[in-house]
Each structure stands twice: as structure tokens, then as C-alpha cells.
């Protein structure tokens, strides 16, 4: 068994193997706590808001939003990119860190992956429902049809999005599920109720922990991690191409792919931090998600935040250096135009705020990390808002310049996707092991 000599234990509290099972299966095997019910109820109310506001949009038309002939994308695509960005941390943590053999990932990768999946579900809602005719939402799929074999446009970044998001979602789901199988089997075998036995039995696919299967399992996990790593990088690259391949000043930039990926990792870790700080205290998992974990993640946040900040500055430089007046105007307008409040919110949340993580205290104080993670989330939402709205609202022809403000329906949809996300997450924490038991068991030091 691997033991790093100079590292602190990744799991504290001197846990035995059965302690791990007991601790992690407790939420599944017991009645949910009051906190859980409170959180779930709030989330579910938000989910109801989502259903109502989406229903209203589909019934009445996209006109219920504040978008107009100049700014045709507003909160919808902002939220889409925001959620996709959040959806990056999970696969990134499990895949890249697995490739780098970072064992500290083991206690957080499960929930991070779950977060990925739920975030991608939330993200997918926006490109779907921002369509004027959502009932024809299957048309971008490359399906042969009766129209004399009319296909789709492989030049369109939106089509790339369709492929990227659906691939990312399904591969992440597979990866997550594969990781869950041994743990589901554990729950199955511990189960006392018939119902639980049946369902966990159904989903465990007959896993019995044989050494041969573990051997194959590890190979598969490695391969999936191997393909997921470029996948996770490609997804936000492709999302960034929605903007980068266009002609709009402020969008048409080659820096977007790396910049978006860094931003995605940044926001993803921000969201993971938000969730884990809550989860470790609500579910009593301090021994598994230690301060060490949090500290490692804050370092990533600080690094990626600075990378994003660098990208902001580079954009300005390139715009100035390009000599294209439209480009120059777009960036000046971002920083000093009518939407400068959004720009400076973004700058302070994403570039300046994470710099406090240079201090050890900031990296190791959970409540402070929680606040910072919220700030990071806000900042990254504004980044997308700034990119989309401020670029569109003043582009080439000055006659078409316009302002955009969201309507209550758009706000409700965003709040609603929060509800969707957290409802999923609460259900996940109730019904599935939030920590990868099998992996944690392999790293605890019960023998000493």
C-alpha cells in the first residue's frame, strides 16, 4: 500500500475499514436529518419555480425574457456557460488528479463528479430552452430524415456544443456510475430493507469485489480518466468557440479556449468548495474532507483565478495592439461603458479576491473559504455576463446599440436551475454514498 512518508494522513480520526462504511453509509441508512429536509425543501421550491418559469417561457415565447434584437442572448447563455464551467471540476478532479495519482482527490471526487453531472443537466436546460421552438430541439442531432437527407451544419459551434455537451454528460455519467458500483454493492450488502436491497442490487450490477473484476475495473477507470481529461478540456474550449468563432468584437478572440478552461476550473473548484464546506459539516465528514483538502483546493482556485485575470489583461492588450477600432471600443466599453459595474464585479471577484489565498489563514479557515467560494461563483457568473452582454450590446453599427436587462422570468429560471441542482444534490446525498468508500478504504491507515 502506498504511504507517503512526509505527508499527513489524508483521512483523520483513526478510522477502521468498517468505520468508513458506517460513517459514509449512515445518511443512506438512516432517516434524513432536519437540516437535510430544510435544504431539500428550499431546493425543491426553487425547482418548482424553475418548472413554472420554463413553462411560462415555452407557453408564451422567448419574448418573456429581456433579450432583444441586438442582445439576443442574455442570462440564458450566461447561465449555460456558468453551469458548464461549474461542471468541470468534478471530472477534472477525478480524471486529471487520478492521472497524476493525487490521492487527496479520493474523498472529494464522488461529490465533485455528482456536481458535474447535475451542473451539466442545469447547463443543458439553457441551450434547450433558449430555442424559439424548443419542441424541435432534436433537430441539431445528426438524424437522417425524410426531407431528402438534410443534415446539420458541422461548421456551427452550436453543433459542436451539442456534441461536446452530450458527450461530456454521458461520459461523466458513465465514469461516475462506474465509480459508484462497488459502493452501491456495499450498500446493497449492508441493506436491511427489501426495497433497498432490490434497488441497490439492481444498480450494483452484481458486483462482488472479485480481484479479477477489480483488475479490469482499475484499467477501465484509468482509460476513462485518460479520455475524460482531454474531454473536459475540450468541452469548455468548444463552448468558448461559440464566441471565439463569431465576428462580434469582444468575442472574436483566440485566447478564449485556454481562458475559458482556466475559468471553468476556477469556477468548478469554487462550487466544489461551496458544497464540500457545507457537506463536511452537515454530514459530519470532517475526517474525510479535511482542512488539507480544502487548502489544496484553495491553491487551485488562486492559481486559476490568476490565470483568468491574466487573460482579462491580455485581452485588453491584444485589443489595443490589434488596432481594430471595434475591438478597442468593445473592451473600453466593457470596463468603462454602461455595464462597467458588471465588469468590475467580475474583476474584483475573480482576479483580486482569490489573492487572499496567499495567506495560510485564509486557506485553512472553512467559513472564510465558504465566503470566498461564493464570491468566486458570483465573479464567474459575471464574467460570462460581461462577455456576452457587453460585447453584443454595442457592436459594429451604432444605430443598433441597445441595453439589456433581465426580466423576472429569466431570474426565476436561474434561481430555478439552482433549485434543480441542489435538489439533485440533496437526493444524491441521501441515496448514494457521497464519498468513494472503496477508494478511501484503500488509503486509510487503520493498522498503525
Amino acid at each position: 500500500m502506498y504511504e507517503a512518508a512526509i505527508r499527513k494522513p489524508l483521512v483523520t480520526g483513526d478510522k477502521s475499514i468498517s468505520d468508513v462504511s458506517n460513517d459514509i453509509c449512515r445518511p443512506i441508512e438512516n432517516k434524513p436529518t432536519k437540516m437535510w429536509w430544510l435544504g431539500f425543501t428550499i431546493s425543491f421550491i426553487c425547482l418548482t419555480i424553475f418548472v413554472i418559469s420554463i413553462g411560462w417561457t415555452v407557453w408564451e415565447g422567448i419574448g418573456t425574457w429581456g433579450v432583444n434584437k441586438t442582445v439576443m442572448w442574455g442570462w440564458d447563455i450566461t447561465n449555460f456557460v456558468f453551469w458548464v464551467g461549474i461542471g468541470h471540476a468534478g471530472t477534472l478532479i477525478s480524471a486529471i488528479l487520478l492521472l497524476f495519482r493525487q490521492k487527496w482527490r479520493m474523498s472529494i471526487n464522488r461529490s465533485a463528479e455528482a456536481m458535474t453531472i447535475f451542473a451539466v443537466i442545469c447547463a443543458a436546460m439553457f441551450p434547450l430552452f433558449h430555442m424559439g421552438r424548443v419542441w424541435l430541439g432534436y433537430w441539431p442531432l445528426p438524424l437522417p430524415n425524410a426531407y431528402g437527407s438534410l443534415w446539420v451544419n458541422f461548421n456551427s459551434p452550436l453543433l459542436w456544443d451539442v456534441f461536446a455537451i452530450s458527450t461530456y454528460f454521458s461520459v461523466s455519467l458513465l465514469f461516475w456510475y462506474l465509480g459508484l458500483i462497488p459502493d452501491i454493492a456495499t450498500v446493497r450488502d449492508r441493506a436491511t430493507s427489501k426495497m433497498r436491497k432490490f434497488w441497490y442490487g439492481f444498480f450494483s450490477m452484481g458486483w462482488n469485489g472479485s480481484a479479477r473484476n477489480w483488475h479490469r475495473y482499475e484499467i477501465v477507470a484509468l482509460i476513462l480518466a485518460g479520455v475524460s481529461t482531454p474531454l473536459v478540456l475540450s468541452v469548455h474550449t468548444i463552448v468558448s468557440m461559440d464566441f471565439a468563432t463569431s465576428v462580434e468584437p469582444g468575442w472574436h478572440t483566440t485566447i478564449f479556449p485556454p481562458y475559458f478552461v482556466a475559468g471553468a476550473i476556477f469556477s468548478g473548484f469554487g462550487m466544489v468548495l461551496t458544497l464540500l464546506v457545507i457537506a463536511r459539516s452537515v454530514l459530519n465528514l470532517q475526517d474525510y474532507i479535511t482542512i488539507g483538502h480544502l487548502e489544496a483546493m484553495t491553491k487551485v482556485v488562486m492559481l486559476t483565478g490568476s490565470m483568468v485575470g491574466l487573460a482579462y489583461l491580455t485581452e485588453f492588450f491584444i485589443a489595443a495592439y490589434s488596432g481594430v477600432e471595434y475591438e478597442q471600443y468593445a473592451f473600453l466599453n466593457r470596463a468603462f461603458g454602461p455595464y462597467s459595474w458588471a465588469y468590475w464585479t467580475m474583476m474584483s471577484c475573480n482576479l483580486f479576491a482569490p489573492q487572499v489565498f496567499w495567506f495560510k489563514w485564509a486557506r485553512t479557515t472553512p467559513w472564510f473559504i465558504f465566503i470566498m467560494s461564493i464570491i468566486v461563483n458570483i465573479g464567474m457568473w459575471f464574467e460570462r455576463f460581461v462577455i456576452i452582454v457587453t460585447s453584443l450590446h454595442r457592436d459594429y453599427l451604432t444605430s443598433s446599440w441597445a441595453m439589456y436587462s433581465a426580466t423576472i422570468v429569466e431570474v426565476a429560471i436561474f434561481v430555478g436551475t439552482m433549485g434543480l441542482f441542489f435538489t439533485c444534490f440533496f437526493l444524491f446525498s441521501k441515496f448514494l454514498p457521497v464519498i468513494n468508500m472503496a477508494e478511501v478504504k484503500s488509503i486509510i491507515k487503520s493498522r498503525e
Binding site: V20, S21, P157, F163, G206, S210, M437, A438, R447
Partner: protein, 190 residues
């Protein structure tokens, strides 16, 4: 597996199991299988399991995805396969031949990944004989929790006698030795 007569060593520590396996293998005992709640490093090597060919399968799946992705786009968007000629689409003055390959990169890439991931997943389930709703062959309900099992059939013991076997594994840390008899399988299973 459950239809055979089995000797089962029960452990509560993976390292002990690993040592037992190493000792037994040294003595020429072929081990039927081990059951552990978590992957024990080097256990597969100790058991002498041949490296799986799943990686090759993954490559083949990925390659299929790559080809299919590229073919789909060549078929629908370019004139090279003589299919597009029947429906020429002028899209923003973009090329209609191999020059549009840059536009094909994302979709081809995604197809490759998609096919690799799902191909390898499905291959794994086939090789591991796993499917939804399969009734697992469980020897000990704690084998997925905190117990590790070492399983041999009596005829695999070869020249090692049963008592010798018992002493080897007990000395290596087995906490219990059980026998599984398919005729009374219910006795061993709760």
C-alpha cells in the same frame, strides 16, 4: 462459482490477504479468486491475473468513433464522397471540401471520446459479466464492506494439505476459515 465446494479465508486487512496469497502461490496453490471491498494494490499480480486486453478494446472503439465522426461529416458536408454534390449547401462561403477539416475537429474528437468511453464501459461489463439486476454471488455479506475473502476450491490446494493451508493463512492474518458447500449454501449465507 457458488455451485462448487469452496474453502474461504476471511481477513480484515488487505495486506494480510496479500501476504497469504503470495505465500500460497509460492507453495503452488492456485487461488480461485479473492473478494475485497477495495482494490488491493498488487493483488492482481500476486494472483497471477493476466493483464486485461481492455486497452486494446478501448483503442479500437475510439478509432471506430474517430472514423465514424469523420465519415459523417465528410458524408454530409463535403463533395468528396459524391453525396454532398446532390445537396450543395453554401454556408457563409465556407469550403465544401477537405478544406473544412478544421471545422470537423471538435465533432470528430467528441465522437472519438464518446465511442471510447462507452465502448470500454460496455466491454468491461461484458468481460466482468455484469448487468443490471444480476444476482451477485456473495460468499460473505461483509465482503464488500470490511472483510476480504480468499477463495480456493479443495482441488486447487494441490500438494498443500488442508491443515497446512489453514495454518498458512491463519499465520498470515486470516481471522476465520469457512467452507462453502453448495448443498447447504444457505447455511453460509444469511
Amino acid at each position: 462459482m457458488l455451485d462448487k465446494k469452496l474453502i474461504i479465508g476471511v481477513y480484515d486487512d488487505g495486506d494480510n490477504l496479500l501476504h497469504s496469497v503470495e505465500k500460497l502461490r509460492k507453495r503452488g496453490v492456485e487461488i480461485l479468486d479473492c473478494f475485497t471491498p477495495y482494490p488491493i494494490h498488487n493483488l492482481d499480480k500476486a494472483l497471477g491475473i493476466k493483464r486485461s486486453n481492455l486497452t486494446v478494446g478501448a483503442f479500437l472503439c475510439g478509432f471506430t468513433g474517430f472514423c465514424l465522426g469523420l465519415l459523417l461529416q465528410f458524408y454530409t458536408m463535403t463533395s468528396h464522397l459524391h453525396t454532398f454534390k446532390s445537396w450543395p449547401m453554401i454556408i457563409g462561403g465556407k469550403p465544401q471540401n477537405y478544406m473544412m477539416i478544421p471545422s470537423m475537429v471538435p465533432v470528430t474528437f467528441e465522437c472519438t471520446i464518446l465511442f471510447t468511453a462507452f465502448g470500454i464501459g460496455i466491454l468491461f461489463f461484458i468481460r466482468a459479466k455484469m448487468i443490471h439486476g444480476k444476482i451477485p454471488d456473495i460468499l460473505d455479506p461483509r465482503q464488500t464492506d470490511d472483510r476480504m475473502l480468499l477463495v480456493v476450491t479443495p482441488d486447487q490446494l494441490g500438494e498443500v494439505s488442508r491443515s497446512e493451508f489453514d495454518s498458512i493463512i491463519t499465520s498470515a492474518g486470516a481471522i476465520e476459515i469457512r467452507e462453502h458447500n453448495p448443498e447447504h449454501s444457505n447455511d453460509n449465507q444469511h
